[in-house]
């Protein structure tokens, strides 16, 4: 009680959580790891007073502090396991850092580049991105696999979670609207939630996927993303002319986004960054420049793009490897780009359109096969003209859940869902028709045919395979505990109705192909059963996404058993599936 009273009193006088928490015990000295040989992989940036650049390193769990005046990393503090985002309060007195693996939000006090750790808060499971309220008292945090938006009170650590119907990633508070925009980590959904009430307001579906950047200017919200056409084919022509996949930024009018009766897509403007010869794969972080243009990092082609110009054109500049995040100085003259695979920061002179220097964040080891494979997976230059990487469709190793008309099933005119690569090493054979008996031949096909990237080298294929083998099976949406009774009954339904014949544990697939009464447009009936692990995370089902209901997907299998299933059995079965 006493503590609560104390906090309440402070609230009346002090603005930011850092200032509030300053008197609390528990402030620790953090080890400086700037000289340590390790992968850092910077993924997020925050710039204080145009002087101190804070860099969240995902692989090392450290924060690098760069003095942009001297161009030196002044220190690197080890703060967690896997830092995925960080943000300064508007008074720059507080820094909030997100640790993905530890599922923590970590609050620091900041002064002249010095960080003091104040407190660690519980965040939603698998946190990905955060934003801070204007007063710096609340953090909104996306929980990807937990499918939640967390609203964290930075004063008392209270965490309110809003369940979402999709796995979210990028998040932005919309100023003056008491609203939060939350974007899908894989597909194109965009939810708007209320900050104060902590409730969902409206759900949008953008034509696109792989949303990796949000930026605000006035009433405009800029969303970087890709669009995959199910009507186009993975031929040289359609890849070359950008008919298959485009790399874009959409300019949404925020009042229309908020108004449930308006259609924000109709009133939006789509800017296509890529063009023939310059595919500009995998646009990620985006920043608004004072001159009205945007600066977008192209994470697949190791470039940044400036635009749109007067006639919609974009100018590109090469930076370090896999740039993912960008911040711009307040006068708009300097941009700092986080090169995730370059373990470096590119300093860009915006007016001259030139890289002033690339600053290395610290010593790195030699990449092994898995690391080389990871770099290839996110590299759009593996494709013709840099239009797409593996990640463009298998977003972060999972799936965009979109339909793609590739030739991996032996035909065109038969678009099928992009499969998740989580746990892919264990789910052979590969391809919807099961024609790839080893993972390497599927990798070769995807690069040379789907991506029109020419023949990959044997080493590239081996490295990609090594990386793919590191991808874990997807998480279940229910724990065994949550699903206990129904799950046990559902397991019995699963066994009794012969589901295990094709979907056998532990991978919940088998190495054969089966005719279950479904056929594609070319008459292919022998289909490869996808693994059911993580099926509860998916929102579309069967090879052509013909249903959004898992129950209907089960019923559409024309086996004798599924037709006879009672409603009760179905309910139990669905619970069981969500536990896989």
């Amino acid at each position: 009680m006493k503590t609560h009273y104390h906090l309440g009193a402070l609230l009346l006088f002090l603005v930011t959580p850092a200032a509030q928490a300053a008197d609390e015990p528990g402030t620790k000295e953090l080890p400086n790891v700037a000289a340590k040989r390790q992968w850092r992989q910077p993924v997020a940036l925050a710039l204080a007073a145009n002087r101190w650049l804070f860099i969240a390193n995902e692989r090392s769990g450290s924060i690098s502090v760069l003095d942009v005046e001297s161009g030196q990393v002044v220190r690197e503090v080890q703060v967690g396991k896997q830092l995925v985002d960080l943000r300064l309060t508007s008074d720059i007195k507080s820094l909030v850092v997100l640790d993905g693996e530890a599922a923590e939000a970590i609050l620091f006090r900041h002064q002249d580049g010095d960080l003091t750790l104040l407190r660690r808060f519980a965040a939603p499971t698998d946190p990905r991105r955060l934003d801070l309220s204007a007063d710096g008292k609340q953090a909104v945090i996306t929980g990807r696999w937990s499918r939640t938006l967390g609203i964290l009170d930075l004063l008392d650590g209270g965490l309110k979670t809003i369940p979402l119907s999709f796995a979210p990633q990028e998040v932005r508070l919309l100023p003056g609207a008491d609203a939060i925009a939350v974007a899908d980590a894989f597909g194109g959904r965009l939810a708007v939630c209320e900050l104060t009430a902590g409730t969902p307001r409206v759900m949008r579906e953008l034509p696109g996927h792989n949303v990796r950047g949000l930026a605000l200017r006035g009433e405009q919200l800029f969303v970087t993303h890709q669009v995959l056409s199910r009507l186009a084919r993975t031929t040289f022509d359609d890849v070359h002319w950008g008919n298959l996949l485009t790399n874009n930024v959409r300019e949404l009018h925020i009042p229309d986004l908020l108004n449930p009766k308006a259609d924000p897509v109709r009133t939006s403007r789509l800017h296509q960054v890529g063009t023939e010869g310059q595919g500009s794969g995998d646009p990620a972080g985006v920043a608004c420049l004072p001159d009205g243009r945007l600066l977008i990092v192209l994470s697949g082609t190791d470039q940044v793009a400036f635009g749109p110009g007067a006639e919609g054109e974009w100018r590109r500049l090469a930076v370090g490897r896999r740039p993912t995040a960008v911040v711009v100085s307040s006068n708009g003259r300097r941009a700092y780009v986080a090169n995730t695979f370059g373990d470096s920061i590119s300093v860009v002179d915006v007016e001259r359109l030139a890289v002033v220097k690339e600053i290395t964040l610290g010593p790195t080891p030699e990449p092994d096969d898995k690391e080389r494979g990871r770099r290839l997976f996110f590299n759009a230059r593996l494709s013709h003209d840099g239009w797409l990487s593996c990640h463009s469709c298998h977003t972060d190793g999972h799936t965009s859940e979109l339909l793609a008309d590739t030739h991996s099933d032996g035909s065109f005119g038969t678009p099928k869902r992009v499969l998740s690569l989580l746990g892919v090493a264990e789910t052979g054979p590969w391809g919807w028709n099961g024609s790839f008996k080893d993972l390497r031949s599927q990798i070769r096909q995807s690069i040379s045919s789907t991506m029109q990237g020419g023949k990959p080298s044997d080493q590239q294929v081996r490295d990609l395979e090594a990386f793919l083998r590191t991808l874990p099976m997807p998480r279940a949406t229910l724990s065994q505990r949550e699903s206990a009774g129904a799950s046990i009954r559902g397991a019995a339904v699963f066994a009794e109705h012969g589901c295990r014949k094709c979907h056998a544990p532990p991978t919940y697939t088998t190495s054969e192909v089966y005719d279950v009464g479904l056929a594609d447009e070319a008459g292919l009936r022998q289909l490869n059963p996808p693994s059911l692990r993580g099926v509860g995370l998916r929102s579309v089902f069967l090879h052509d996404n013909r249903t959004t209901s898992l129950a209907e997907a089960v019923r559409l299998h024309q086996t004798k058993s599924s037709a006879r299933m009672s409603d009760k059995e179905m309910q139990d079965l669905l619970t069981f599936l969500k536990y896989l």
């Binding site: 056409s229 009507l231 084919r233 022509d237 897509v265 006639e311």
Partner: protein
């Protein structure tokens, strides 16, 4: 209709159908028939297996017999028809035709085959594998070459440059319109009938060089020009009038925010070209669009589908009916180019059976565009290129049908549903043949841009375009009133 695309095909392929085996056949009766039989048999088999509405085998074999010069009385005899039914392979076909044909009959095999193919439903065509590669390059807008059109100048007995494309490598290297070609790669190409040889010599891999010796008509001065072959960017999206080699005016009326765009064809690049044009038109303040499809050269269903998807928001486009009589709906996805702009699409009979009529019909059915001009017919055939076995060539034949929304369908007849239908304009504006020729001549002059002094560049009366502009002016006025 003389279109840029067909010129290119002629340039690329030479004079029509290439049948090397037939063309090189010896004079003897048996020898002449020999190479044609496997080809004809392959064509018959392919038609049987893939054609959406194939003639019966007996009918096809009778047609072949007729083309081979077998007299009607023989063809119509029951005994001959029975023999036809026993044909199981190319050898049988050859044996029967050789036996039945009068010894003195002279035929031109190329001509005969062309007529034969055209007589079957869907106007079939055959090209060699080599020429098909060029067709594919053109369709993909990845044509590799020097970027010129040539013709034979009969008076001079020389091959003459009709046009060096704006932005093409030949034009950049200094080749001029009307240049007469004397040598290619050091080989003299003087004399009549050299056009195919010139075309062959001009062809080559991307990045390679070809050297020409040329002179202007009436001049003795020879010029040597080296051209690096490259991908020729063939524009398919054009504006109202060309201002220079690089730039266009898109507004027919200076004081109206109405853009005019002519599609000379739909290829893999067309959607990309429109996507790049949209922000430029927006920057010029345009708020409405005339999409001129008239005088277009034909398109593949796939490219038309992508363009229709680009121009239309989410919804149905058409259905495809295949040989097994199953229909499949094709739908466009969310989002569209030119958002809410009022749009008029210009159509006329020159685009009948080109594939463009499907686009026009979908835009009308979905209420996206007002159609202005004259009715367009469609046989609804979707043509596909099928490779014949043993490298015998590539056969273009209809393998499915496009089924449009009911409003375009003809009524049922006693004989069942008719396959031909008509896309009628919302605003019927007829023009005389002479006027139509003037309109296309002007469009071509701007698109090919032979020279800035070309008299065909001057404006002509185009009542269909005038109507389109009136419709859009009214729509903009109405829209403006609504906004207020």
């Amino acid at each position: 209709m003389p279109r840029l695309f067909s010129y290119l095909l002629m340039l690329a392929i030479g004079s029509g159908l290439i049948l090397p085996r037939l063309a090189t056949a010896a004079d003897e009766k048996d020898e002449r028939s020999k190479p044609a039989a496997p080809l004809l048999w392959a064509i018959v088999k392919t038609i049987e297996e893939r054609h959406i509405a194939p003639p019966s085998r007996q009918q096809m074999l009778l047609d072949i017999g007729r083309a081979a010069g077998i007299p009607s009385d023989v063809l119509e005899s029951e005994s001959f028809k029975m023999k036809l039914d026993q044909i199981k392979n190319a050898e049988d076909l050859l044996a029967l035709m050789v036996a039945a044909r009068p010894a003195n009959k002279q035929i031109n095999p190329e001509e005969a085959l062309r007529k034969l193919l055209q007589s079957w439903p869907g106007r079939l065509d055959l090209v060699s594998e080599k020429d098909f590669k060029v067709v594919e390059q053109l369709n993909a807008n990845r044509y590799v070459g020097t970027g010129i059109q040539v013709r034979t100048n009969a008076e001079e007995k020389l091959v003459q440059v009709m046009l060096a494309f704006p932005n093409g490598p030949a034009r950049k290297a200094g080749l001029k319109t009307d240049d007469l070609i004397l040598e290619v790669e050091g080989i003299s190409v003087r004399g009549a009938g050299m056009i195919r040889k010139v075309v062959d010599l001009l062809r080559g891999e991307e990045g390679s060089t070809v050297t020409l010796v040329v002179r202007q008509p009436g001049s003795e001065e020879k010029r040597t020009i080296s051209i690096v072959r490259s991908v020729i960017p063939l524009q398919t999206v054009f504006g109202y009038e060309r201002l220079s080699e690089e730039s266009w005016n898109y507004k027919p009326l200076a004081d109206q925010p109405i853009a005019y765009v002519h599609l000379s064809g739909i290829r893999s690049s067309t959607l990309r070209e429109l996507r790049q044009l949209e922000p430029r038109l927006q920057a010029q303040g345009c708020k409405a669009l005339v999409l001129d499809l008239r005088f277009e050269s034909g398109a593949r269903l796939h490219d038309v589908t992508l363009l229709a998807d680009g121009l239309l928001d989410e919804g149905p486009l058409w259905k495809i009916r295949d040989r097994s009589n199953t229909t499949r709906e094709v739908r466009s996805d969310r989002d569209s180019l030119f958002g809410e702009w009022p749009m008029v699409v210009l159509i006329n009979p020159t685009i009948s059976n080109t594939g463009m009529e499907w686009l026009a019909a979908a835009l009308k059915a979905r209420g996206r565009a007002v159609l202005v001009g004259e009715p367009v017919e469609s046989n609804s055939f979707v043509t596909e290129h099928v490779h014949l076995p043993d490298g015998l060539g590539v056969l273009a034949l209809p393998t499915s049908r496009v089924v449009l929304p009911e409003q375009f369908q003809p009524r049922m007849t006693n004989a069942g549903p008719k396959s031909k239908w008509t896309v009628k304009p919302d605003e019927l504006v007829k023009v005389e043949q002479k006027q139509r020729q003037e309109i296309v001549a002007r469009i071509l002059a701007h698109e090919s841009f032979r020279s800035a002094q070309d008299p065909a560049l001057k404006p002509v009366e185009d009542p269909q375009l005038a109507k389109a502009l009136d419709v859009l002016k009214a729509a903009l006025k109405q829209g403006g009133a609504k906004d207020k």
